[in-house]
Symmetry: D2
Subunit: 415 residues, 4 copies
Amino acid sequence: MANRENLAARGQQKIEWIRRKMPVLQSISREWEAKKPLLGFTIGACLHISAKTANLARTLQDGGAQVVLCASNPLSTQEDVAAALNEIYGIKTFARRGEDRDSFYRNIHAVLEHRPQITIDDGADLVSTLHSQRPELLKNVLGGTEETTTGVIRLKAMAEDNALKYPIIAVNDAQTKHLFDNRYGTGQSALDGILRATNYLLAGSNFVVVGYGWCGRGIAARARGMGAKVTVVEVDPVRALEATMDGFMVCSLKEAAAKADFIVTATGNINVVDAKHLELLKDGAILCNAGHFNVEINLKALAEKSSSITTVKENIEEYKLHSGKKVFVIGEGRLVNLAAGEGHPAEVMDMSFANQALAVAWLIQEGKDLENRVYPVPEKLDKKIARLKLKSMGIQIDKMTAEQVKYLHSWQTGT
Amino acid sequence: MANRENLAARGQQKIEWIRRKMPVLQSISREWEAKKPLLGFTIGACLHISAKTANLARTLQDGGAQVVLCASNPLSTQEDVAAALNEIYGIKTFARRGEDRDSFYRNIHAVLEHRPQITIDDGADLVSTLHSQRPELLKNVLGGTEETTTGVIRLKAMAEDNALKYPIIAVNDAQTKHLFDNRYGTGQSALDGILRATNYLLAGSNFVVVGYGWCGRGIAARARGMGAKVTVVEVDPVRALEATMDGFMVCSLKEAAAKADFIVTATGNINVVDAKHLELLKDGAILCNAGHFNVEINLKALAEKSSSITTVKENIEEYKLHSGKKVFVIGEGRLVNLAAGEGHPAEVMDMSFANQALAVAWLIQEGKDLENRVYPVPEKLDKKIARLKLKSMGIQIDKMTAEQVKYLHSWQTGT
Amino acid sequence: MANRENLAARGQQKIEWIRRKMPVLQSISREWEAKKPLLGFTIGACLHISAKTANLARTLQDGGAQVVLCASNPLSTQEDVAAALNEIYGIKTFARRGEDRDSFYRNIHAVLEHRPQITIDDGADLVSTLHSQRPELLKNVLGGTEETTTGVIRLKAMAEDNALKYPIIAVNDAQTKHLFDNRYGTGQSALDGILRATNYLLAGSNFVVVGYGWCGRGIAARARGMGAKVTVVEVDPVRALEATMDGFMVCSLKEAAAKADFIVTATGNINVVDAKHLELLKDGAILCNAGHFNVEINLKALAEKSSSITTVKENIEEYKLHSGKKVFVIGEGRLVNLAAGEGHPAEVMDMSFANQALAVAWLIQEGKDLENRVYPVPEKLDKKIARLKLKSMGIQIDKMTAEQVKYLHSWQTGT
Amino acid sequence: MANRENLAARGQQKIEWIRRKMPVLQSISREWEAKKPLLGFTIGACLHISAKTANLARTLQDGGAQVVLCASNPLSTQEDVAAALNEIYGIKTFARRGEDRDSFYRNIHAVLEHRPQITIDDGADLVSTLHSQRPELLKNVLGGTEETTTGVIRLKAMAEDNALKYPIIAVNDAQTKHLFDNRYGTGQSALDGILRATNYLLAGSNFVVVGYGWCGRGIAARARGMGAKVTVVEVDPVRALEATMDGFMVCSLKEAAAKADFIVTATGNINVVDAKHLELLKDGAILCNAGHFNVEINLKALAEKSSSITTVKENIEEYKLHSGKKVFVIGEGRLVNLAAGEGHPAEVMDMSFANQALAVAWLIQEGKDLENRVYPVPEKLDKKIARLKLKSMGIQIDKMTAEQVKYLHSWQTGT
């Protein structure tokens, strides 16, 4: 009993600590506490059960909604946060860390039992269970939102097959989400994860970033900022050229591998570090992944080339190659910022989740005539979030004058 | 006579110097010298008559074309380059520096007299004269290309009115053009122009960049690279937030003006530095513009607030305000990299002009069925240019494996 | 029993992990294993009992010495490392984490019992106990080394009073120590500590570094590298000017405090963040210290101005000011990289400890005629370490030609 | 006549433009205009006759001195500045651009004719002529100052031989000189010179800096800031290691040469780029020097390996190697920031020359009891200059509290 209380108290502490750096959600809460724009609505959300998500749930609650939560991934559930949500914040949360598949789906069903009018998803599991197993509930639903690329792809496929029965807002594509979370969020947290796992010096090291998308750019910039000598590997020639002009060395992974102290993958593709690269690695090379799935490093090939695999430190496994060289893998090739760190900083999730909150309100207020397909976040919400964020940082920006608006408009229309 | 020869020789020297840093055009030339893909075609081009343009013309000539040139702007014509083109390279060039309006249009007509089958434009003056005054020649024309945003806007308006009588490739929108020329080209050359004009120390200075588009990003990054304390001013909240997270100070121009040692505008908008800012400037502030038109600094307002205007140094005018403070403007508010420097480095124009060359060849080979509207540069040309550029830099990049192509494809199609 | 074994095994794992990044010590070990230059000598060392120190001890042992260890600070002792040293590596280690004052001195005496001919100190406690309480053992001692500034100051004072009875090498002053550990070691590990404690986003934050010595420079550079907007506070005008020209904002702490998201002190001075600054802080400001002693933030003043002090997270205390604002202090103002992180990366200690090892060997081989005072590390040792380190990184550098040596020499002698 | 007037007017314009960025000299002038601390003294100065020097002379004049100038190098004399000094500012200036050796020494004698009580030198020519040819004037002289390393070395040699007959202040060694002019002055102006000469793109280029002293550090930092991929070459292992940890590639010049687009020498040594490197260079490599003397690139070896040498552009010579490769040298291997640029920015010379001015005043006020040797600039002058500079930039810094001074003092004295 005492333990249980402690658990909830600890969760509350976490939620409050994180809230300090979620000023956009805070300011939406303040705005909503009077107006209650979500009053009378039940929102079912299937998300990572973390302190950041808890703060989204609180803001939705502040807007008047009844919020019911389940976990989008059983491994990421923070038990203390779940306890706090249930026992302190009055937000029903069906999630247990490490629960099995049955329990996972039971919890999704438990959320659906509450007959949500809005769904929030991170991977489309809630939408998909609702459509396939509880179609009778679809008539209650006004719309939904989706956090990830993966989910958006699934939902667009459903829409194309006319299988999607209500409109979805693709939060992932908002500027205030995708322009920020990868570059600044992953950029910092991937390095943070690497440092927590290794405590090795980055200054002067040969640091290879595979992939120069938003994540790769963030990681490369931050690694350089820590004094590393950064090499970028890319398959797209335009991006490779950008990396070069940004001052990074660019070459093939085979060439880079021979000198690498660290290799971080961020490509979204499979077997990026593959059998052919493994023999080339230096003794002591550190491998890790900052892409979404743990497929970027070919661990199977690595295991086959190894005479032993040993955990030498929390989150670090040593592969002893037949050649005698040792290669180290952080967090089994899973997202290094989650496996060895604490994921995205709150400031970045603040903007992503503010998109969730505003998208939900927009669905309620202006979503009546939407078709059953996937929509982008309306630009005005996106800009509003950027403005709230700037304000929370004490930053004031200019507005265009009437003269300037006119000039630009005349220009864009070509008159 | 001797002088004339010297002029051409000097022009040749310039052209050859620049050619060294146009390896993509060089490699297209090498490829074309055997195949002559442009053989039998006459190309009329209305461009800045500079050493960079001369190298585009030579590559087109290497491809077998007859090339005829006139100037897109009478002020930018380099007399020695024109002489070399006419007398050494056998490329007819109708252009005189500082020519008047009549002469300018006579030269356009002189080009049209050669009945070009392809037009290359930088601002759409050639296309527009051809359509309005020599419509009988339109039947010869296979297609054209356009270098600038301005031209593209004019041509799209024509297409919308069904007034455009042949297809146009918008070279401006190619990735290997717009991702590079502003960030890296303007980034460097704007600072270069400022240093040539002032010889002032950037390290430790308060350097304000107005506008955080591609140009502004390039300038801000380079100014920081020179040790300046950089402040970014933006009206778009998302861009303002990016600037902040990129580590720049962000505030209103009023707030920034009071501390600024340098203010550089790069917004594409009018009166960005306006009457209301002028009184706030520090004594000794330097103003300049890196945007396309000389409208960004309100010089009229500045003149009205000044008791005297004096040229204190080549390219620098001192405005003595009624308050006694002195403010300095570089190059009368025209593009600082052209007014006080030498414009974009050749490496950047190499890619832009390689797009021109490949777009011309593509029009000839695959342009038969195009409609009379504005097309983007085909992606394969864009990638080819990036690949040639990387190769010229001795940089090798990886290719996706069949397995990776398949994985990515399966992913993108959502199966 | 099983636990005890596990403890030693875990210590060994740590020691081996760290050894990978101590290549200079490794190469000294390889060189010494054949020659045994320390054979027959007993070395008494009073150092932090960590995996890094363990590797110094192993190298001394590889050189033939008998090594006996005690702790220079009871709080920093790693029990598992001590167990491994005693049980696996055969290095007698007298240290217990959190031991009291009596036990601390008993352990120093236990080391002295072994009649060391060389002492290694980190704060001069071993030297000082030896001189004051066991003067009869002084005759055995050939010389000693000292790791820290603090110790060096104490020992120089002793030398001045003719109280020092054997020569000391001040390892702290070697170039390969002080030029590296503060800038690169503290630079990285202070940020690492802050991220582990807060998980807050540095990009776009207002980050204030107080002090622009070697530590401050390292921290400021790395914070900028993570995207923070960095302000430097200094009392020395020359350093303040350097910080400005390095592109940092520079102002008084009062001015900086009002905007700060993070304040890190690295001055070596007292009450740097003082009562007068506390009221000015923003709600939510994070305070921490990267200077040697926990005197830089005036915690007493902070407590007096607070209505409550709460631990809100591991290593973070919230001070609720009477004004209602909350201010957070990491690790009670102790060195943030030790309080919330793992201290200097191994690579940095590798160079410091290589200086220790080579200084010990040099004392034995060439120390016969030294006077009883404090000496710098001979330059040739310093350069040797730099060369070994470069070699371990696979970096080859040039040598001056005979012609160049002559030119430089003629120049320096003014002929 | 009209021409002559124009010449002086143009010189005045230059002097006034530069004065704007010499705020420390300005503030010394303001302080001195009332007090006239130099009244009655004649100062003979042998310096580069440039707008920056003119402003030093004006400040000395404002202090009450009679100032007489001659040139320290006939090639650097700016005729318009000399004319303005003579005709507008009433400062006698004996200097003609490109004057021959006889005229050069006649001008030194012309200065000596005025019986200076203080000498200011840049290379010790004035002191040396005075001692060797006009010893009868030595009795008038109170002391002198010296600007450069070269001069300081000569003067120290004289002092050692007891040949120096009055005290000299070595301005070169002041912190506010040597910590700033090389890193920030040469750092910027070397790049500026390269851009003016080549107009080539630095972003993405392979940029090699030979020497990682103050100059080399400045150049490397700025080249990186412009997007170049920077490699550092060093013979000192400690500096090589610093360069590595600062994130630069480090290798031998042979290895670096094969990839270099630009090589800049800044070593103070001879034949740094030597015969053995020339064959390794890439076709099109650009060579230049930022060290004091034009001995760093072995131009003789380069000429021997070349079939032709052609000036292809102002300040650029093409060496066509027998292998067919072409290599380009900027400004004949002389200091690139002077050969192709305008030398150090005024802001940097402001601090150097403020040291000159304050050293002169200090000699007059406190120099009575100095011995005939070379002295450093007193620390209080150095700090005063830093403080004045910060003030001119609007930057306020903190002062230590009494408590802090006491703490630091107790610490440093070891009590």
